[in-house]
């Protein structure tokens, strides 16, 4: 990643990024730009460099921030109406770590409202367009961040991945994306979607850049009890040489061009001397059902705080307490938000809890066990990220279940808390970007990024 120097100043870098952001306005990448503060910060970095002080490992690097990270700059809207007026008094741990290293947020990127979705079409502010085909979706929920990197506006962007929200848009736009091991990066200050599956991660142009960002942001945070003790920087990555391929993922239902891209990537791994191991993972077929029980349950709970009382949007015509709640939430949430709140409330309600939520938790345990068994036979697993390439805008909006099915290969990782790295895998004949993902055991993030980097080197040969 290019960092600011005396010759190549932070102000120039930030200005260039802001110009590009405006040039690509019609992609609707950003919810808001952060021009004034970004330039001021860039000037501060340049002053540091002039004085010979250490400006940090990301000195002057402009980045794009998914709009669900709290920071004192601008409003944190989570691309929703209910948080449209919300200005945060605190800064998320991850953002603080990036900025301590000199990174400069140039703007907040569009997303599915509260990260509910796989296309960024559920944004209150309208959809983001695919970086390589404006008639297609950017993917989601971190669509804006993926496109910001794919269009070359910024060298990296932050994202969150609850069921594929980094890996899927990364592969739809042909960039690298990491969903780390659950608990690697603090969730403090990030608008919660589903607490037990939410992961903070990044988009970048290379595995090496992702490694640097992980190195900076990973680590235990006293403000997030679910963070793991520091491991990322301390452990030398294992050398991975056995790749697993899941037999049960019925590749015949996968788009032929994705299958071809997958096979091609497997050939590359073989050419690197990797041994291929076939895996039976029958429990994975329940992952989507399990995911769409547990995640809405946590969503319904986490969104309860948006009640129009203390911050955010309130319907001013409400005449009673019930109306403040009802009208503010009805106006403030998108249809997909409401759908998930309804599902969540249903599966948690008395009489249904055991049949749905509890059963799903048990199935989740089985899925975790299945991955543990798989990683006794192989070092990592290669799978497609999605069954189909980036779809057309509006193609799935009237059929939520068909949209959910696009997550079938990404959600199992979130249920198991294991890391995944999406890497570019060529494109379709219509020039639509494709990707595959490398999936590893818990805490293998660094080793996965190393494999990803090695693949890129092998492909350059």
């Amino acid at each position: 990643m290019q960092i600011a120097t005396k010759e190549h100043t932070a102000v120039e870098m930030v200005k260039a990024a802001l110009e590009k952001a405006k040039q690509y306005e019609d992609y609707h990448v950003f919810v808001s730009l952060n021009e004034e503060i970004a330039l001021k910060k860039a000037a501060e970095i340049d002053a540091k460099i002039k004085k010979g002080e250490n400006p940090g490992r990301l000195a002057g690097v402009p980045y794009a921030c998914k709009d669900n990270f709290l920071s004192k700059e601008g409003n944190t809207t989570a691309s929703s109406k209910i948080l449209e007026p919300f200005k945060s008094p605190i800064t998320a741990t991850a953002i603080k770590k990036l900025e301590d290293e000199g990174a400069i947020m140039i703007g907040r990127t569009n997303m599915d409202s509260f990260a509910h979705g796989s296309s960024t079409e559920n944004s209150y502010f309208g959809p983001t367009k695919n970086a390589h085909d404006k008639t297609r979706v950017a993917g989601g929920s971190s669509g804006g961040s993926a496109v910001a990197v794919a269009l070359g506006i910024v060298p990296f962007a932050t994202g969150t991945d609850t069921g594929g929200s980094i890996r899927q848009p990364a592969s739809f736009n042909g960039v690298y994306g990491i969903k780390p091991t659950y608990g690697t990066i603090s969730r403090y200050g990030v608008v919660a979607m589903a607490s037990s599956t939410d992961c903070i991660g990044f988009f970048a142009d290379s595995a090496e850049d992702l490694d640097l960002l992980m190195d900076i942001c990973a680590g235990q945070d006293p403000y997030d009890m679910t963070t793991l003790p520091d491991y990322y920087t301390e452990e030398a990555p294992h050398s991975f040489n056995k790749v697993g391929v899941i037999k049960d993922f019925d590749l015949s239902k996968v788009d032929p061009e994705i299958k071809a891209a997958f096979d091609h990537k497997l050939e590359t791994l073989k050419s690197m001397g990797m041994e291929v191991v076939e895996l039976d993972m029958p429990a994975l077929k329940y992952a989507l059902a399990v995911y769409y029980i547990i995640v809405p349950a946590e969503i319904s709970s986490n969104l309860s705080r948006h009640d129009g009382i203390r911050y955010g949007y309130r319907n001013e015509e409400a005449k009673s307490l019930d109306e403040v709640y009802g009208k503010s939430r009805n106006d403030g949430f998108m249809p997909e938000n409401k759908r998930r709140i309804m599902i969540g409330n249903f599966v948690l309600s008395s009489g249904f809890y055991d049949a749905y939520y509890n059963k799903a938790q048990k199935a989740r345990t089985v899925i975790i066990k299945q991955y543990e068994d798989a990683f006794k036979k192989c070092d990592f697993i290669l799978t497609p990220v999605t069954p189909n390439p980036a779809f057309k805008l509006g193609e799935h909006t009237s059929d939520p279940v068909s949209m959910y099915l696009e997550d079938i290969m990404s959600v199992p990782l979130n249920l198991a808390g294991i890391p995944g790295v999406a890497i570019p895998a060529g494109e379709t004949k219509d020039s639509i970007s494709l990707g595959v993902q490398l999936v590893g055991p818990r805490r293998s993030d660094k080793a996965l990024l190393k494999v990803a980097a090695d693949i890129a080197k092998q492909e350059e040969k």
Binding site: N68, F69, L70, T76, A78, L83, F86, S88, P89, I90, A92, R187, Y188, G189, V190, V191, A192, A194, S195, S196, P222, Y223, D224, M225, T226, A297, E298, S300, S301, L303, S304, R305, H306, D307, I309, R310, Y311, L321, Y325, N345, L348, S349, S350, Y353, Y357
Partner: protein, 470 residues
């Protein structure tokens, strides 16, 4: 018809931690401006996560010991959902499935045991202040750590309900779990009451009286409910399962909401807090920090302090603490002073927070024992201990300044006696005494006291008088 009453009590205890259960702001909001003890976690800013207060876990361990219960080595938090403006997250973090404290019991002074079903940790909600046409939310209390202690339906009278609450309060205060300020809601009681015909094996439908904050109101509410429910049953009308409030002014319970309106709390494991796993070492260490409990004091002072005096004093942990510091010889005397003098004073509450040192009290006891102070003088000196000017001085100095030390010096006393006997005003009395009029001795002792300006020990004076006159 006669009915048997069955009562179960849920008690919320606010823990005396420095900071809140999940954030680092001041937990003691008394006398503070509304919403001044509130962090972004407490007002549920998006992206905020709970950070569990270790101190609260320690106090829960203490509470477990105080109710003779096991501490569960693994417990978990759950979310309890409902919408109300005093509940910022839209859910309360509580323990529904895996509470920290298991089964236990509280033993009443009568020896009866009331079983505890379990006790769990949770956060308190904020408060609504209602004004004409609008309400304001104060979140100072939101996030205060609580334990909720759930009794078994082992209570069968208003008096027993009162005694259980009081004994529970004592146990929690002595263990250092709570400040126990009932007026400020540090402990609040929800009382479930049902009636069934005497001898019936089935329990009746119960009413829950919410949010009682004194032992007396618990007792009165039970008495009222007994009357209300028995009247209904006598008329053949059903008792409805419902929640009722207590009006202390009218002495009545009033309908709040019925069981049908009961909410579905949609309990769910709290994903932001990993399970709490406590090592035996950690538990044992905290158990050792538990100060003496009421039952320990009862055992310790059996015989040294009269039972009824002890039960009075047990309501005042400061007094028991002080008594425990005393040497054995002073205990009985000082406990009686505490019970009969201090607690009778109008300003006793203030005095309790400003107790004399053990040394002062021991000296006082000793001077009394040696006859240097009369009972009246001892009481006078004792009260001076609380005097802002004199209170810190040692006992003898205070007694001297009050000029109340009795003359025990036989030589000096003999001189005074001689002086009195030589006084012509006493000649008649001396003659009368010698002629067998015993009671005249009182007059002569009085003269000695007068001559000594009240400092003479009357018993010694009488003894010397007699020896000189015989």
């Amino acid at each position: 018809m006669k009915y048997e009453i069955t009562i179960g009590i849920e008690c919320h205890v606010q823990l005396a931690t420095r900071t809140k259960l999940f954030s680092e702001v001041d937990n003691d909001a008394r006398d503070k401006e509304p919403n001044s003890c509130v962090s972004p976690v407490d007002y549920a800013l998006p992206g905020m996560l709970p950070r569990l207060n270790r101190e609260a876990i320690k106090l829960a361990i203490r509470a477990g010991k105080a109710m003779n219960a096991e501490i569960n080595p693994e417990s978990r938090f759950d979310r309890k959902h409902y919408y109300y403006p005093d509940l910022p997250k839209g859910y309360q973090i509580s323990q529904f499935y895996h509470p920290i404290i298991g089964e236990g019991y509280i033993e009443l002074p009568t020896g009866e045991k009331i079983r505890i079903e379990h006790a769990h940790m949770e956060e308190d909600a904020g408060k609504l202040n209602h004004f004409g046409g609008y309400s304001l939310v104060d979140l100072n209390r939101a996030g205060t750590p609580l334990i909720e202690i759930v009794s078994m339906p082992d209570i069968h009278s208003a008096k027993q309900a009162h005694d259980y609450c009081k004994e529970l309060w004592r146990a929690m205060v002595y263990a250092g779990v709570t400040i126990g300020d009932l007026y400020n809601g540090n402990m609040r009681f929800d009382v479930n009451i049902s009636l069934a015909p005497e001898g019936s094996k089935e329990l009746g439908k119960r009413a829950e009286i919410k949010n009682l904050n004194s032992f007396r109101s618990v007792e009165r509410a039970v008495e009222y409910e007994y009357k209300r429910q028995s009247k209904l049953l006598d008329k053949g009308e059903p008792v409805r399962q419902e929640t009722r409030g207590w009006n202390d002014a009218t002495g009545e319970t009033t309908f709040q909401r019925s069981k049908e309106e009961a909410q579905d709390y949609r309990y769910m494991p709290e994903p932001d807090i990993p399970p709490i796993r406590l090592s035996q070492e950690f538990i044992d260490e905290e158990l050792q920090n538990v100060p003496l409990l009421p039952k320990d004091y009862r055992a310790k002072f059996k015989g040294a302090i009269a039972d009824d005096t002890l039960e009075i004093l047990l309501d005042y942990p400061q007094l028991m603490g002080k008594i425990a510091e005393l040497s054995a010889g002073a205990i009985k005397f000082v406990s009686n002073l505490f019970a009969s003098v201090l607690l009778a004073e109008e300003k006793s509450t203030e005095m309790l927070n400003n107790l004399p040192s053990a040394k002062q009290l021991e000296d006082l006891s000793e001077m009394k024992d040696k006859g240097e102070l009369s009972s009246t003088a001892a009481k006078e000196v004792f009260l001076k201990f609380f005097d802002p000017q004199m209170g810190k001085k040692d006992t003898r100095t205070i007694a001297k300044e009050l000029n109340v030390i009795q003359e025990n010096d036989t030589g000096a006393l003999e001189a005074i006696v001689d002086q009195v006997l030589a006084d012509p005003a006493c000649a008649q009395a001396i003659t009368d005494f010698k002629n067998g009029q015993e009671k005249v001795i009182g007059f002569l002792v009085g003269q000695v006291m007068k001559a000594s300006q009240g400092k003479a020990n009357p018993a010694s004076a009488q003894q010397i008088l007699r020896s000189k006159l015989n």
